[in-house]
Symmetry: D2
């Protein structure tokens, strides 16, 4: 029964010498899997570059030589604010990831990456299927057409797991029976669930990885892919700490104010309560969701009178 | 029960006037679905450009004005031979496609396209699952690790369909039950099979579409995606006939001879029989598969003595 | 002497019928050049799609049919706020542009476009060189290493034009002499200035065009490329007005507040004067440029006591 | 006067330890510039991966663990023949290159790379201009609209160098005068020639680099960019020797036979002389250039009777 085994490391434990730039923060994550969901993982297989390499690439534009490391951070932060993203394309990360097919389907929508995926045409698919933990078994969200909201009752949660377990069993049993008849593998697999685990190598540059993280660390992203985004974020935070901090400060934890929001704030210097703000801004934009988003920003800015 | 309905046409039957280049061959395919597999389809939603537009784009390089249409074909054929592919990027096709998830998974690997897919997070997944026709129920190929070979017996074929039908029923029944419990849609769907139908808008330029067709019209491509490639090939053949013919002549029906094959042919002017050729060329490359590929090319060149 | 002539239109004035979606706002710009700088232009050669097509593509995700046009705008605006950019990739614009080489060199850095450029290897380069208007002849900016600042004196401005004119004359004269000796065109051209005009067809989808516009409409972009961005913005504003408005409201005229700025605002509810704000925020970030940027945002929000 | 200096190495001579895969063939090229043209260079700044990494990535598809190195080559060669290019995207090369602007303009057309270029808006442009060596000063080709043919006379060659030298001098002198007037750098540079040297960091994966090499090692590529392609080919040949050999055998030194050529060969088993072949095949395709191309292929196959 094909359980995943990590491929053996190419390099042995003490490593080998290289003349390339090395990120000690990245080195410590090489071949150290972070478990994700019930049977998945992410680990770093290879990388290229470092914060220093990003700063050096930016300095090509100026024709100036290497500066002190202490100046790298200011430069990296400036690049982020000014949306000069090309230097961060100079850093690459290559991960080995194992995840359910439905997660892989969301993930692959990020096209600016290189992928080699396990193939159910060549090889037998694994017998592993994602079973959500009880506390993730939640009802359809009411305020968000794509998300999940309240937890179901414990009884319901166990019932859900039971239905899924029987579905997986049926699908996997059918698959085994079809393989036993020597049906072509590419056909035998088509009854398998999208919860079946697959795996891939996934390589991406730091600029595009930050974009992936921005979208997939977001609370609106499906929980099951967020788990993988968080695992990669841990690795990136250590590998290129200056860049990651700039990403958090200027992107992940930032607020974007629209033209209408700016005008509203400038015109209403006094602080209002939550409901008043909603009501007044709704008059401006005529859209409930947008008005709610605005109130959320005003809270973060300390502009809501409690 | 959410069966697919084509979206209503934006434009009514007699059309509207435009100052843009028009391809009459493309016009006739707009909103005319080609059925694919048992419940899928492909149709053309929109397009941009024509053979003429490709030729005009190439002529920008020469700074010369419009030529006679009769000269377009020679230019288009030259561009193809010389691998000047950028003019064919000036033409776009936008398709609406419905296909099983496992087909979508192969398809999406072509990254140079724009995609909007039906979302099982927002909407209820369809109750349609791909059931292979009896004559497609075939054994694992023996000469090709990824393909299918001999047909199974009629009895086996029906048995396979039965196993799949019961798997789909279980999966769909579970899905309905989970939705009935108000489980979040994004979670309820994870037991559904990769044979479940999905749909998307898929937009791609002619250059990248030809690359897709080259790979997916190939006999090694899985039958189920080949069906879609063939449907799109019919449309493209009418939409940009000069370019399609050049693609067939110089790419699809071409042969690539390796350095070793060239040397072998030059050194062995006499014709041999199939087995002899295999044996001799195997001595050169030490690889059975490659030697078989060589014999196949020699047959097409008429170099095998029967 | 090879002066640019627009290529003749493929379609005649009354147009032809099409079953494709048509944008009347785009139709009126087809083959109507907008002059840029002293001898350049931009015009729309072809396009695909409309605001409606963007909304329809988004609705594929929901599996729902066509809605009223009145709902398109709310959907398009939501997509923009939520960074769901893929539907806007479904619209394409194809421009014919003529611009100095140094402008083309900045422009081509936007890689997600299709390009066919005039070739100095095949054809004689034009005798046209960009001469900046007097009011654009300005000194190096003092606050911005990459920009221009104060105007030079009128005398200096004329002197600059004179130097450039003589440089162009020398370069063009040399080029003509080398061509006269039958030197290969690909070599004869290498003395020509980067102010020499070139031209290309440039095709890009709406999502990537908005990204281009965001960067190239910015006051920090070089004036000479901004002129082309403004010309294309006029066309796009008419072609997909709902999308353009959303781009203006949520991107172009928006403000992004960093984590530090949010915390500062929340902690300092009282309004300060400009200098005080700068001083206080400089203590937080230790960076003059960033503190100046902050003061600029606070002014737009009406938070600076005058 | 800003002459290029290589940036100091980040890593010192004995290197540091890494747990990443190392290619000894790549290591030896790190920070060792290969001179190109009269004042340019290419050197390797960083890399990721190795032949082994390509084979490992391919094996993810099979779900099998690491194999013996001796099997990597057969796999890599198979991937190349079968156009399975994604595993070779797993290897990256990052170069520092210095080249004339007109070479950079051809180079940048390869969009699937990451670039950071020296900026004439921020920094003073170099005083270095490309001067073709005497033996490269050749006439326009007669059989190829884009190439160069016969050498000019020695006297003409020196005359050409003189014209270029005076053009460069004028352009550089004007630039210096404009800078002396404190004209904005972004404007002062517009009279500089496209022979002026620029530099950049250029990062690309092995798959796309092979595509670059295929086009730019071709005899039809302009000599001046071919020199850079050859320099990078030397580095790649050492860095990933198995992949490079496969590229040579199956791509660079291969022949592609069109549908018409295959049919012609099969129908004309006897060997003809060069003129006869041309004449007969011209009847088939009606195109002189294509008939000449065919004769060239027949020569390589030993099918032309001398």
């Amino acid at each position: 029964m094909p359980h995943t085994k990590l491929p053996p490391r190419i390099v042995d434990d003490e490593g080998v010498r290289t003349l390339r730039p090395v990120s000690q923060g990245a080195e410590k994550w090489l071949f150290r899997p972070i478990p994700c969901l019930d049977r998945g993982f992410v680990y770093l297989v290879d990388y290229m570059g470092s914060d220093r390499a990003i700063a050096e690439a930016a300095r090509v534009s100026y024709g100036r030589g290497t500066k002190k490391v202490s100046e790298d951070e200011a430069l990296i932060r400036y690049l982020r604010r000014a949306m000069h993203t090309s230097p961060s394309e100079m850093v690459e990360f290559k991960f080995h990831c194992k995840m359910p097919i439905f997660v892989a389907r969301q993930w692959i929508r990020h096209r600016t990456a290189n992928v080699n995926e396990y193939s159910g045409r060549y090889s037998e698919m694994s017998d592993e299927f994602y079973m959500p933990a009880l506390d993730q078994v939640r009802a359809q969200a009411t305020d968000n057409k794509q998300g999940r909201g309240e937890a179901l009752t414990p009884e319901q949660q166990r019932h859900v797991q039971g239905i899924l377990a029987r579905t997986y069993e049926k699908a996997h049993g059918g698959y085994q029976e079809l393989l036993g008849m020597n049906l072509a593998k590419e056909l035998a697999r088509i009854g398998l669930s999208v919860a079946n685990y697959t795996e891939w190598y996934w390589k991406i540059d730091a600029h595009n990885l930050f974009h992936f993280l921005r979208l997939r660390l977001d609370p609106h992203a499906q929980y099951e892919i967020r788990v993988y985004a968080e695992a990669m974020a841990r690795i990136v935070r250590d590998a290129i700490p200056k860049s990651y901090r700039a990403f958090e400060n200027y992107v992940l934890h930032s607020i974007q104010l629209s033209e209408m929001e700016i005008a509203f704030i400038a015109a209403h210097p006094e602080r209002g309560d939550e409901w008043k703000l909603f009501e007044e801004f709704f008059k401006v934009v005529g859209n409930k969701r947008e008005a709610r988003e605005f109130v959320g920003k005003m809270k973060r800015l300390g502009f809501v009178r409690s």
